[in-house]
């Protein structure tokens, strides 16, 4: 019996040892929604971190390089980030399969921007439940602002997206429903208007780094920012010339005039808040500057006073070779063509294989932001007064107030480019005028119009500042290379999740840009065809 007792004792001991062990273990590394929205401070933290998350989906490599290359703002021989695929000639359709190597170009903004909206929705829902940060107006204003600019970029990049806000209870939805991009954009602008309303009715200061906008912003400046984004969104959302012509330009002008008074320059910090787009635009790894991307010849070429660019344009894409230009625009080169300009410099080494297309090779390295290290620290140009000036100038031209647009265009043209001022007729009609008309036809080589000057000025000033504006403008200005896709489809991975068939755009399919027609003006102007 002693032995049996031992066995029973052992069994009890074993049961005790194992039974007493608690098998519930918390995860101390990652919060869940309850932790993220359970306290007022946490709710505010969720909102305060939204801009960092948003920044990654707009200013990092994906989709930045695909859209910048498509707009022929920069060009490059590397395949990374889907840039080369999107910009090869003839243009190809976007490959919208989950197996495509570069599908992050569309998946990253798709999932990332929806994630920002989802976070902010959780925060606002928590506030509606009574978990309210101390500065409620500030939190609500920024939350609405972040909803707006996130929905806005979804509407700009994709043909459709989810327009959910904090009032949507996702627990009641089995299959979420997509909304067309114009509906999503209406949602975005409505949210930005709510941010304006809250910001206009309250007084607060949004602190600088480490969170929020990484630069101090007052309630009034937040209102300015929201107006600026509305102006950008209104003109950017159309997919073609007709759509851009149909924009309410008076409304655009109003928002642009109420836009920012100083550039938005969030402060970068290594591995926390980086700018992958400017980093690679300025990259110099060993000895060759701008080895990832160069100024596309379509960007700097209109400034060429020789026929090098025009000859390049007149050559079939497959046999185009890079060239050296000569221009009065001191942003492109210095007093002599070999000297550095303010934004670019001549460098004849090219690391890109001819097999990637000699038409993408360029001799102009981008140096405006330094040489590959300035991305790590310091203020990053994100939204500029110059862009607002250009939006205002376009609006004024389209509202038949072109004379008022002239000084806006001349601001940077004279100060940065050291170019003679334009008039309502365009640049002075003289040798070396900038820009010149370049498309084949009777006017090829002639001095450009005021419309041409506006487009050139905006492109040259926005290059390397914002990766998306050139593309959004190009589809409305009808300057995209033919068959460029005008927006991304809903990513294939999402379609498969929704059990929907895959589809895509570009390459001659639906959603392809028509042949470019850059010199046609939206209103009657001198030198316009």
């Amino acid at each position: 019996m002693r032995t049996i007792a031992k066995i029973i004792g052992l069994a009890l001991a074993g049961g005790l040892v194992t039974g007493c062990q608690e098998l519930f273990v918390t995860n101390p590394n990652n919060p869940d929604r309850e932790q993220a929205t359970g306290q007022p401070a946490a709710v505010e933290g969720l909102i305060a971190s939204a801009f960092l998350l948003w920044w990654n989906e707009v200013h990092q490599n994906e989709p930045a390089w695909a859209v910048s290359f498509m707009a022929d703002e920069f060009s490059g021989g590397f395949l990374d980030f889907g840039g080369h695929h999107s910009s090869q000639e003839p243009r190809q359709a976007w490959i919208n399969t989950p197996t495509f190597t570069y599908n992050d170009a569309s998946e990253s903004p798709w999932y990332g921007l929806h994630s920002v909206v989802s976070n902010v929705n959780d925060a606002l829902a928590a506030m509606n439940r009574g978990v309210v940060p101390v500065e409620e107006a500030r939190a609500r204003a920024v939350a609405k602002f972040m909803q707006g600019i996130s929905h806005g970029y979804l509407a700009l990049h994709f043909d459709s997206a989810y327009a959910f806000n904090e009032s949507v209870d996702l627990d009641t939805i089995t299959i979420p429903r997509l909304s067309p991009y114009d509906v999503v954009m209406d949602t975005a602008i409505s949210e930005l208007e709510q941010a304006i309303a809250i910001g206009g009715a309250s007084t607060f200061t949004i602190p600088g780094p480490p969170g929020w906008f990484r630069t101090p912003v007052t309630n009034a400046q937040l209102v300015d920012l929201a107006n600026s984004f509305i102006a950008r969104f209104l003109i950017s959302v159309p997919r073609d010339r007709a759509g851009r012509d149909a924009v309410d330009w008076a409304r655009v002008l109003t928002h642009a005039e109420q836009g920012i008074q100083t550039d938005l320059m969030p402060v970068a910090e290594a591995e926390v808040f980086e700018n992958g787009f400017t980093f690679r635009a300025a990259r110099q790894r060993t000895t060759t500057p701008s080895d990832f991307a160069r100024a596309d010849n379509w960007l700097v070429g209109p400034a060429d006073s020789t026929n090098a660019f025009i000859n390049w344009v007149n050559t079939p894409a497959a046999t185009r070779e890079r060239f050296q230009l000569r221009t009065k625009d001191r942003r492109i080169h210095g007093a002599v063509p070999a000297d550095s300009g303010k934004y670019f410099r001549y460098h004849n080494a090219s690391v890109w294989a001819a097999s990637r297309g000699t038409y993408i090779r360029s001799n102009y390295a981008y140096i405006r932001l330094g040489r590959g290290t300035s991305w790590q620290v310091g203020p990053q140009l994100a939204l500029t007064v110059t862009e607002m000036d250009m939006i205002r100038a376009e609006a004024l031209i389209r509202l038949n107030r072109a004379a008022e647009a002239v000084p806006l265009i001349n601001l940077t043209r004279e100060s940065n480019g050291q170019l003679p001022p334009v008039t309502i007729d365009g640049p002075p009609d003289e040798p070396g005028c900038v820009p010149r008309k370049y498309m084949p036809g009777p006017s090829q080589g002639q001095c450009g119009s005021l419309w041409d000057a506006l487009r050139y000025e905006k492109r040259i000033e926005m290059a390397g500042v914002d990766p998306t504006v050139a593309y959004f403008d190009a589809r409305g200005w009808q300057t995209l290379v033919q068959d460029t896709y005008v927006h991304f489809p809903v990513p294939g991975r999402e379609l498969e999740t929704l059990l929907k068939p895959l589809y895509t755009y570009g390459g001659g399919l639906a959603g392809s840009a028509p042949a470019p027609d850059p010199h046609r003006c939206p209103v009657l102007l001198p030198r316009c065809p």
Binding site: T3, I4, I7, L10, A11, A13, G14, G15, V17, T18, Q21, L23, V25, N27, N29, N30, P31, D32, R33, G45, L46, S49, L52, L53, L79, H84, A93, I95, T97, P98, T99, T101, W110, Y111, S115, S118, N119, D122, P176, P210, E269, A270, E271, V272, F273, R283, Q284, R285, T286, T287, D291, A318, V351, A353, A354, S355, R493, E494, T497, L498
Partner: protein
């Protein structure tokens, strides 16, 4: 009384029956144990009386004596490593009398005859197992492997080892077929009872010289005993102890091994270029013929799509960059072991010291010092304790992250070994056109190393109050500390700071604490010809893992690798992962008449890693074996052993920490990003394996084990993507099944066995197939890996170049002759020669100046002579199956010949089939660095321009051109050992030297393969890190050859 209660009462009744002790007066059993062949006495054999706790060990004369045996009739069993166990029934013990029982032991020359303990109740002879347990002893492995666990490669059937080449690396092992789509298919590993932790549990810390034996159970049919961590099998390692020494003996050995490492195979590097040169090909010139320096050289003209050949000799010296980078280097291993055995205590102590410099001189080296102490002590006749302790400390120099990638970018005409002006022995950038910097500079300037500390400890207490009951308590502990330090001093150059950077520092500290403890009771009873063995065990597991990282840049002071020196701080991370698990099991083995064997177990496991609503899961096994040769009617005299066996069992595979949790990712700067939608229903993966087999021994010279195993692993843990509308990226779900089957054969033969000459041959072979049969999420591709129902793991997906006219479905039949298959086997457009009125030949590219031109076929323009990518219905490059890493079958052949004082051992390891994706070569194509791109020496008709190779490069997208045969025949191990005759040691007797051995050892000596990279044994660390069968050569540290000499002295 309901059925369940009745059943419980029946079990208790059975326990009570088993527990009834025999009451009698005592007698004595004595005898002598001898070797059946040589007739010499066998010392250290364990003789035990079945059904009692009485046992003894034979002394040098082979004699034993067991006192105080209760009167009765017994079965006496003798066991000794290296011999087939013997038993004798009907041994009658009478009170106050001595009974004699002598034994003649037959040397066990076959694995099948060895005693194993893994997966069963206690020590069990292999011939009585109802399933397969692979066993390897140190005698079977005369060549200590670079990594301790790699010893089983080529020696146990069904084993796939996926090693990493750099010294100090761990290894991935797969037994039979993969068991998990997303998680590790590596087996559970235990060393002296210490279950290695899930993190930091690398086998690289172990000293292979310490290993006494390894047992391998390969799937759920055998491994159910180990529950929810065992679906991929179990490997148990035992290290040496002092128990095998004769009583009273102390033995000391000194072993020193020293030798050289070298690269077994070099890749072919380009030696020519396509820059414009003068007619004499001595000077770079421009289009006007003006000489140019190298820095300003220009490419030969490209006409649109390109037309230039890589056939110009460099005017400057050309270097062998493989030789410049790799450097034959050295390694040595020293060890001292001491062991002693007394009547109640034995102990074994070992000190090891290992240094390997790999094959990159001065970098990537590895140093390890280790100490082991194993002790067994008999406290009382019924109480013993065993302690095992091991501590290893190692440091490894980590190579610069992209070092092999940097290397393949280097042009042939630059000298990597010239000094840099900053004082570094190697120049940072020797090439003004260089894309990547000199990897030698980076390796020389970066201080990047990992220090590891590892303690493995086990304490086992056994209490045997009666002959039929044994109680055991076990506690084991695995502690791993890792410290990683990176330091790049201010002023040193890097890719982003060509003139000297601000300085970077990063430090990471990790530890893992894994504690396993159990208590168990083993009950053994014999009823006539039927014996029962039952074990009940309860166990717990606790594992804590912690990581802390900090870093920064912009160093204030030069030369100070201290975190406070960083004026900008970043990389601040910490992670805690705790795991808790509990379990219970009962296992019973029944043997009748030595020929009918039944075995069954039930185990219930709870784990904190399971979803909160799926905390506990049950596993089980039933097995049976039938030793037909034991039947009186068995007609084949020469087949002395013939066993049929069957086993079916279940085991699990756990989720990882956090898989069940809803998580938001806290990113740098405090950003929260929704990541994983939690799943409280998350279950472990569940493998059900059925194994059938037959074992036989014929002519007492040949053993054969044949097995077939089929596994079905359901509830696969799969990360299912979610709609963006929900905010969360994905959710872990049980959403798949993977099915595998394996045929295995193990044959061992004693071809010669004379006192002067023995020759043993071993053959292991296996053929495995598996595929995903259920995958409840959209199929997806990550780089080359593709996951979808119907596909195996290790399959390669990517682009495909057309190779056969039947693939020309997009052109009319009448125009298919406008395409030809070139000498590379690729279908290329050649068009039609309107003058000759026939299609051009693919060899006319140069003679008719066709390269670089376009041809129009059926209205579509093609580049002449270029390969054609297969396209899908949308016109996009089709993504298709392009290869498969899975081998058709493996086999290993080992030979051991003993002649007088010499022992010659060799192991040839063969993989038939299975492909490797050569991503390294693909990148070499990008910058025309592969020797395959040189056109010198080719007939004119076969020369191809550089752009042809750019097409093959395919933008670094996976493409079938770089899928290469990965089969190989490898002379993996070769050893010659010479035992110095005693007469030569006479002069050394005063030093106490009793024996001396000299050996010459080679590892990975010679490989026959069609693979063009450094070595076909590579592992895809990028997208298939958990999957050893996937083989992608993506700038891996190559496996290298070592040749060493060893001296071993015994004192």
């Amino acid at each position: 009384m309901n059925l369940r209660r009745r059943s419980r009462h029946a079990s208790l009744a059975w326990l009570v029956l088993v527990a009834v002790p025999l009451q009698a007066q005592t007698g004595r059993i004595t005898g002598i144990v001898t070797d059946s062949t040589a007739g010499r006495p066998v010392a250290n054999a364990e003789v035990s009386v079945v059904g009692t706790a009485r046992r003894a060990t034979t002394i040098e004369t082979g004699a034993y004596a067991i006192d105080n045996v209760p009167a009765g009739t017994y079965v006496v069993v003798v066991r000794r490593i290296g011999y087939v166990g013997a038993r004798r029934g009907g041994v009658v013990v009478t009170a106050d009398a001595t009974t004699t029982a002598d034994f003649r032991l037959r040397a066990s020359v076959f694995q099948l005859q060895e005693v194993v303990v893994t997966g069963v109740v206690g020590e069990t002879e292999g011939i009585k197992l109802p399933f397969t347990v692979g066993r390897l002893s140190s005698e079977d492995s005369p060549v200590p492997p670079a990594n301790a666990l790699e010893a089983i490669q080529g020696k146990i059937a069904g084993v796939t080892v996926a090693p990493l080449g750099q010294p100090g690396s761990g290894t991935e092992i797969q037994l039979r077929t993969p068991t998990s789509i997303s998680k590790s298919s590596s087996p559970l590993i235990a060393v002296d009872g210490v279950i290695l932790g899930t993190e930091g549990g690398t086998s690289a810390d172990l000293n292979g010289l310490d290993i006494d034996r390894i047992e391998v159970v390969k799937g759920a049919a055998a491994a159910s005993l180990y529950g929810s961590r065992a679906q991929a099998g179990v490997i148990q390692v035992w290290t040496k102890r002092g128990q095998d020494l004769p009583d009273g003996e102390t033995r000391v050995t000194l072993r020193s091994e020293f030798g050289a490492n070298s690269l077994a195979h070099k890749v072919q590097w380009a030696r020519y270029h396509f820059y414009r040169m003068d007619a004499g090909q001595t000077t770079y010139v421009d289009s006007a013929g003006t000489p140019l320096p190298r820095d300003l050289r220009v490419e030969e003209p490209t006409t649109g799509s390109g037309f230039r050949f890589q056939d110009n000799p460099y005017p400057d010296p050309v270097y062998d960059q493989v030789d410049a980078f790799f450097d034959p280097s050295s390694q040595f291993t020293n060890s001292v072991t001491m062991a002693q055995k007394t009547s109640k205590t034995n102990w074994f102590a070992a000190f090891g010291n290992h240094r390997s410099r790999g094959v990159i001189d001065g970098h990537g080296w590895y140093r390890r010092n280790d100490i082991r102490l194993n002790l067994d002590h008999q406290l009382r006749s019924d109480l013993s304790v065993s302690l095992s302790g091991y501590y290893a400390r190692s440091v490894r120099d980590e190579l610069e992250g992209n070092t092999f990638f940097d290397l393949i970018n280097i042009a042939p005409d630059v000298d990597l070994r010239q000094p840099d002006p900053d004082g570094t022995p190697f120049i940072f950038q020797p090439d003004p056109f260089g894309i990547r910097a000199n990897p030698l500079y980076k390796n020389a300037t970066e201080s990047d190393w990992t220090a590891r500390g590892r303690f493995l400890g086990n304490a086992t207490v056994r209490y045997t109050p009666t002959g039929w009951l044994s109680l055991e308590g076990v506690a084991s502990y695995d502690r791993s500390d890792r410290f990683h330090s990176f330091f790049l001093d201010r002023g040193l150059k890097s890719d982003q700071y060509q003139s000297g950077g601000p300085g970077f520092i990063d430090q990471e500290n990790e530890y893992s604490d894994a504690l396993n403890a159990s208590v168990s009771a083993t009950l053994t009873r014999q009823y006539g010809a039927t014996s029962f063995r039952t074990m009940l065990r309860a166990l717990i597991e606790r594992e804590d893992n912690n990581e802390t990282e900090a870093g920064g840049q912009d160093l204030a002071v030069v030369g100070l690798p201290d975190l406070t020196n960083a004026t900008v701080r970043s990389n601040l991370n910490s992670t805690f992962r705790d795991i808790r698990a509990s379990g219970y099991f009962v296992i019973t083995g029944v043997e009748h008449a030595g020929k009918y064997i039944l075995d069954g177990l039930v185990r219930r496991d709870g784990s904190s890693l399971f979803g909160s609503l799926e905390r506990w899961h049950t596993y089980g096994r039933v097995s049976a074996a039938y030793r037909m040769a034991e039947e009186p009617w068995w007609p084949f005299e020469n087949i002395g052993e013939f066993k049929l066996r069957f086993s079916r069992g279940t085991a699990g595979g756990r989720p990882d920490f956090g898989d069940q949790n809803e998580t938001l990712d806290v990113q740098e700067g405090g950003t929260l990003a929704k990541e994983n939608l939690g799943n409280e229903f998350l279950k472990p993966e569940r493998s059900t394996e059925t194994e059938y087999g037959v074992d036989l021994i014929a002519f007492d010279r040949v053993s054969v084990q044949l097995s077939y195993a089929r596994s079905i692993v359901r509830d696969q843990l799969i990360l299912v993507p979610l709609s963006a509308g929900f905010g969360f990226e994905s959710q872990w779900q049980n959403a798949g099944t993977i099915v595998g089957n394996t045929f295995e054969a193990t044959i061992q033969a004693q071809l010669l066995r004379t006192p002067a000459l023995t020759w043993r041959v071993g053959l292991v072979a296996d053929r495995s197939r598996h595929k995903i049969t259920e995958f409840n999420r959209p199929c997806f591709r990550t780089a080359i890996a593709y996951r979808c129902a119907g596909e195996p793991l290790g399959v390669m997906y990517g682009g495909h170049f057309l190779r056969h006219p039947s693939e020309l479905t997009f052109v009319p039949d009448t125009l298919r002759n406008r395409f030809q298959i070139n000498d590379d086997g690729l279908l290329v457009p050649v068009g039609f020669d309107t003058v000759a009125q026939r299609p051009y030949a693919y060899t006319q590219g140069v003679s008719d100046s066709l390269w670089g031109k376009s041809v129009t076929i059926d209205g579509v323009s093609y580049l002449w002579g270029r390969p054609l990518l297969a396209r899908d219905a949308s016109g996009n490059p089709a993504i298709v199956r392009i290869g498969d890493s899975n081998a058709d079958f493996h086999f290993g052949v080992s030979n051991e010949v003993t002649w007088k004082n010499f022992v010659l051992y060799g192991l040839v390891d063969v993989q038939v089939g299975g492909q490797v994706y050569n991503a390294t070569k693909q990148r070499m194509y990008q910058w025309w660095r592969s020797g395959e791109e040189d056109q010198v020496g080719k007939p004119e008709g076969l020369r191809k321009p550089a752009e042809y190779y750019s097409s093959l490069y395919n933008g670094n997208d996976e493409i079938d051109w770089f899928v290469e045969p990965g089969g190989f025949v490898k002379l993996r191990e070769l050893a010659v050992r010479y035992q110095v005759p005693v007469r030569y040691l006479a002069g050394l007797r005063s030093l106490g030297i009793r024996g001396a051995y000299l050996s010459l050892v080679g590892r990975n000596l010679f490989t026959i393969t069609d693979y063009t990279g450094y070595d076909p044994e590579v592992r895809d660390e990028e997208t298939n890190a958990n999957n050893p069968v996937a083989r992608v050569d993506d700038f891996d540290y190559p496996r290298f050859r070592t040749i060493t000499a060893t001296i071993l002295l015994e004192f």
